[in-house]
Symmetry: C2
Subunit: 458 residues, 2 copies
């Protein structure tokens, strides 16, 4: 059967899948967890094949880390399933119940979206998370993972699918696409697929968006900012900034740009730079930022304020603070850069409003943070910054479905429609309106014989 035939069939059965009770869906999740546990050696063996192939083709260590599926990753997956089991049923929630007139009652009720296509990177744990999110939410899903983990994916998918079937989930409701050409086939199925979620590089997500009429939910870039306000606690700022930049640089929620209020730049910037340098971070920035670091370095001190002295000591006492080299001077448009590496853009601003304007213009509407002790400044920042996540005094790295308590995520949306930020179960649901009557016709309301009274019953 072609992908198209599979997917059309999936579209036909999707209302039946959507109507399965949450007991069946939870039973399927428990059955999946049991199957993964009891077949762990089989999974690990398949994963060793993938790793050996990767080794031979000389893949980078950072990538291999993502390919690996071991006891630790399995335990995370099982914990994720437990967490999904504990979450309430996302389907059948009545979010509006309104009597339009005597005996005419309108309800809005959450239902699964239907058929979802998810194309994801070479990470076996992603396959488990995504298929379990689809099972719990009552959606049908076509899954296409990265080819580097083809062997692991095959074993995992077969186990998950068999386990779901054994619990009563209808045949054909999950499908794994394995060939790369199948992506292009899938993109053509706009009459059968309700939503596509591509994960991966920006270029890849853009390719998908440009080559399909299926609605796409994805994220473009992760250009996140940390803005250190003039009223920031500098120690807290340096601690949060360091985490946001260095804790996991390859993540889309890592900070790429540091904005500093001009009033505190002379003292804060050299101290922060010293700490970042200790963590291997290279700084790029505007001439103004470079000059401040240069001056701090020339004064052979860079640690004017008592508050930041501790950090300077940590960074090697009062030696020169790190500089921004001539090659790393930045013009305006350079700030649209996602590094995913130990590199940080630096710019000074004169106000919280200017920081927000910079973020709205050069950011990617993902996650941005203000470090401040000033409630009014925080309020202004969180209102004016037009991003999925607006944070105060904590690391941008918190932008994540698990950390938000969603059990898991299928991705992070930087679009503003449907779902924004980390997308968990709720992002895989839509709603329908039910109207219950006993013979009402519109002509009676048009003529004035009847009239609406709109009484909310919830």
């Amino acid at each position: 059967m072609s992908i198209r035939d599979h997917v059309c069939l999936m579209k036909e059965i999707s209302p039946v899948v959507a109507s399965m009770s949450v007991d069946v869906r939870n039973a399927a999740l428990r059955s999946v967890a049991a199957a993964l546990s009891s077949h762990r050696e089989e999974i690990f063996a398949a994963n060793r094949e993938d790793l050996e192939r990767a080794e031979q083709s000389g893949i980078a260590d950072s990538v291999k880390k993502r390919l690996r599926f071991d006891d630790h990753k399995l335990a995370d997956c099982l914990a994720g399933i437990d967490s999904l089991l504990s979450l309430p049923d996302p389907a059948g929630r009545v979010t509006l119940r309104r009597e339009l007139d005597e005996g005419l009652v309108l309800e809005r009720v959450s239902v699964p979206i239907g058929v979802i296509g998810i194309i994801f990177e070479a990470r076996p744990d992603a396959l488990v998370q995504i298929s379990c999110l689809c099972i719990k939410s009552g959606n049908c899903a076509v899954l296409k993972g990265g080819r580097e983990t083809a062997s692991t994916n095959k074993v995992l998918f077969d186990l998950i699918y068999e386990a779901a079937l054994s619990a009563g989930i209808p045949e054909g409701s999950l499908l794994q696409a394995s060939g790369h050409s199948e992506i292009d086939e899938l993109l053509e199925c706009d009459d059968c697929v309700d939503l596509l979620i591509p994960r991966g590089s920006n270029a890849f997500v853009r390719y998908i968006m440009d080559h399909t009429k299926i609605p796409v939910m994805g994220h473009s870039d992760g250009i996140c900012h940390t803005y250190v306000d003039k009223s920031a606690d500098p120690d807290l700022a340096i601690r949060v900034l360091t985490d946001a930049k260095t804790q996991y640089t390859a993540a889309c929620n890592a900070t790429e740009t540091l904005l500093v209020h001009r009033d505190i730049a002379d003292t804060f910037l050299p101290a922060a730079a010293a700490q970042l340098a200790q963590n291997g971070v290279r700084l790029r920035g505007t001439e103004e930022a470079a000059r401040i670091l240069q001056q701090a370095s020339q004064s052979n001190d860079g640690c004017g304020s008592a508050q930041t002295e501790a950090h300077c000591k940590e960074a090697g006492g009062s030696v020169n603070s790190p500089l921004i080299s001539a090659d790393d001077l930045m013009g305006e448009d350079d700030f649209r850069k996602e590094y995913l590496d130990l590199v940080l853009s630096v710019k000074l601003v004169g106000s919280v409003e200017e920081a927000a304007a910079h973020i709205n213009r050069f950011g990617s509407h993902h996650t941005d943070c203000i470090i401040t002790k000033d409630d009014a400044a925080a309020q202004t920042f969180m209102t004016l910054v037009d991003s999925a996540g607006v944070y105060r005094n904590c690391s941008t790295r918190f932008a994540d479905g698990f950390r938000y308590g969603f059990g898991a995520e299928v991705g992070i949306s930087t679009g503003k429609l449907h779902a924004r930020g980390p997308v968990g179960l709720e992002g895989l649901m839509t709603y329908k309106y039910r109207l219950h009557g006993n013979g009402q016709i519109v002509a009676d309301y048009a003529s004035g014989k009847s009239s609406f009274h709109f009484r909310d019953l919830l």
Copy 2:
């Protein structure tokens, strides 16, 4: 200034517009209502110009009815503004508040989408509704109406914009595009426009979708069904069906296809056909449906059941019931037809499941109704039919923002993402996540030093 320059500026000020208090937004609405009231003669004079031009170009009467803006339409617009004033602020609603850990609190709060482009048909009242929805919701908007009402639109827009400014809405937050070429300019502004809402013909909506990277919310077809179950009350069914088909045929929520359970077709179909014929409806249908009408006609009666006798009498006593002519016999694919006219497709089905399968396959996921006294059949239908509106025992014509109590609508979405069905204020909102911390870093949670406890505070 080009449309692009205008829209880019709009994007920059949109966070400021979004942060205006609801008091300012309501004051703007009151100011708009006052301006429309006191300048009514000016508006009507401009509308007479449009109508004269339409007359000269020989536009159809049905279209002219839409172009007209008179005391009656103005009263409807003012009532709509009153209704918007009475609705609660759609912005700033906290829909999730969760303590992730001690001192780390996540909130999800509703915010305006930002910059919305709306391209709508030649109906001056639509311009008023749409701009008022945008003002109430805190969105910036680019409006492009049909050229047939250019004079009326100009006067209306200028009044609305001035009134909004006088109440404190920022300059540049509303823009009227007047030239047709400006639509193509607007379609290019995917970096500045957050959402496009095209209204009009299917071909037009499809053109917009195919020529922009801006997310589009629109409806394709309105192929709505009324399914008469075997347990239906035939009198109620005929009354509701007649309204759904004939009360306003040009609307997308008018019924285009009648499905009848085979067990009652012999009696129900001739009676329904007689009543529909009285209302000028031409029937098309399958051979099976045609045969039943033919047989009823030949028995020179068509009114076997006592229950439907009254309808047969109304339709001219026991004369021949209407037939389906040879030209109007339908094959499978003919059922994908939106008539927007006094024409109805007819097909028999053997079960509620078969009705649902037909609707999911040939319908447009807009609004579909079951007529039944059987609760179980209604439940099955409303679960299996994958449409924005699933109705029981009432006319499909109820699918409308006003009738749902939304105050107004910008359109009806047949897509499943973001908003489904009639789109009012809520459909013009998105949300952002706010995270309030006091120095939390992800490294502490990765190392196990800290852990999340996820406590919902709402």
